[in-house]
């Protein structure tokens, strides 16, 4: 039962959030230029790592902000959270933002 740090509301229980999946996939910047392969990769393919994962969560019962979260899919440890436009990658080595 995770405690997720909303960039606005601070630490809140996971039950206030909803999950949005892999946040390393990016909606094609220029949709018209994206190839079918780009779209296929975006819509259907996942790294699905066993370990650190960057993922979307929405603080749906709170401030309704979508945020990125680093989480270990094996241990359920949490790393940093970031706003959508802030960089965050699975191998970001900063353990947490404490």
């Amino acid at each position: 039962m995770f405690i997720i740090k909303c960039p606005y509301c601070g630490e809140r229980d996971v039950t206030e959030f909803s999950y949005g999946g892999d946040a390393t996939r990016a909606y094609p910047q220029d949709p018209a230029q994206a190839t079918p392969e780009d779209w296929h990769a975006y819509v259907y393919e996942r790294d699905n790592p066993r370990g650190w994962h960057v993922e979307w969560w929405q603080h749906s019962q709170g401030c309704r902000q979508w945020l990125k979260l680093r989480r270990n899919t094996l241990t359920h440890e949490l790393g940093r959270t970031a706003l959508p436009h802030e960089p965050l990658s699975p191998d970001d080595d900063e353990g947490s933002d404490a």
Binding site: Y8, Q61, G62
Partner: protein, 216 residues
């Protein structure tokens, strides 16, 4: 032509005054009151316009909202409550509905949306009020974490709720902490019944429905 004059809350007739589980001569652990006739005006600034919006709010409400997340302030016109990034609620009483004035003032900077009919408000107060909240939400309601001027949007058992602490043990000695709970109108009946059930073990006094958003 017929005119509709009265607002009809989904809690109308359902939250009338009564005592639940209060022994003779005993004091209730909590009190519940349905707050009626509230106008809720939501103001959400466009990117980069937060400061401008706050200035407009200050003009209309008489004080500026606290820019910090999850903070609320008592303004002359009502309460100003942070409800999201660059987004505030101004809660006022009928018939002073500031929505159109605010919309005019913020035409370039913010989206103004009325929400007062979409929410019901229960005021929960008393010695054990924090315990009652802890039966619904996972937030830390200890006085050192959640005191007057703190607010939070959270889940309360099965529904979403905005909790605004308008007074605490220090600011309202004897009354206990006072919280205004705003939740969706469509589930208002469940919300009220849940609150009564959660309050019952502590002894619960339901007060006559009242208007107004001022602290006791």
């Amino acid at each position: 032509m017929a005119e509709i004059t009265q607002r009809r809350s989904p809690l109308g007739g359902r939250a009338e005054a009564r005592d639940i589980n209060i022994p003779d001569g005993g004091t209730p652990g909590v009190a519940l009151q349905h707050r009626t006739g509230l106008c809720i005006t939501q103001a959400a600034a466009y990117p980069g316009c937060d400061a401008a919006l706050r200035a407009s709010l200050a003009e209309i409400a008489g004080s500026e909202p606290d820019a910090r997340p999850n903070r609320s302030v008592a303004a002359p016109a009502g309460r100003l409550i942070w409800t999201g990034p660059a987004q505030y609620w101004l809660v006022t009483e009928d018939p002073q509905n500031p929505a159109s004035d605010l919309a005019e003032a913020t035409a370039e900077t913010a989206a103004i949306t009325e929400q007062g009919h979409g929410r019901v408000c229960l005021r929960l107060s008393g010695r054990d009020a924090r315990l009652v909240l802890a039966k619904g939400s996972t937030i830390d309601f200890h006085p050192s974490h959640f005191a007057a001027g703190d607010c939070a949007q959270t889940g309360l058992l099965s529904v979403s709720c905005l909790i605004d602490c308008i007074a605490d043990e220090d600011s309202a000695p004897g009354v206990g902490p006072v919280f205004d709970l705003y939740s969706a109108r469509s589930t208002a009946e469940h919300f009220l019944e849940w609150a009564i059930e959660a309050a019952a073990p502590h002894g619960c006094r339901i007060l006559t429905p009242g208007s107004g958003i001022a602290a006791p």
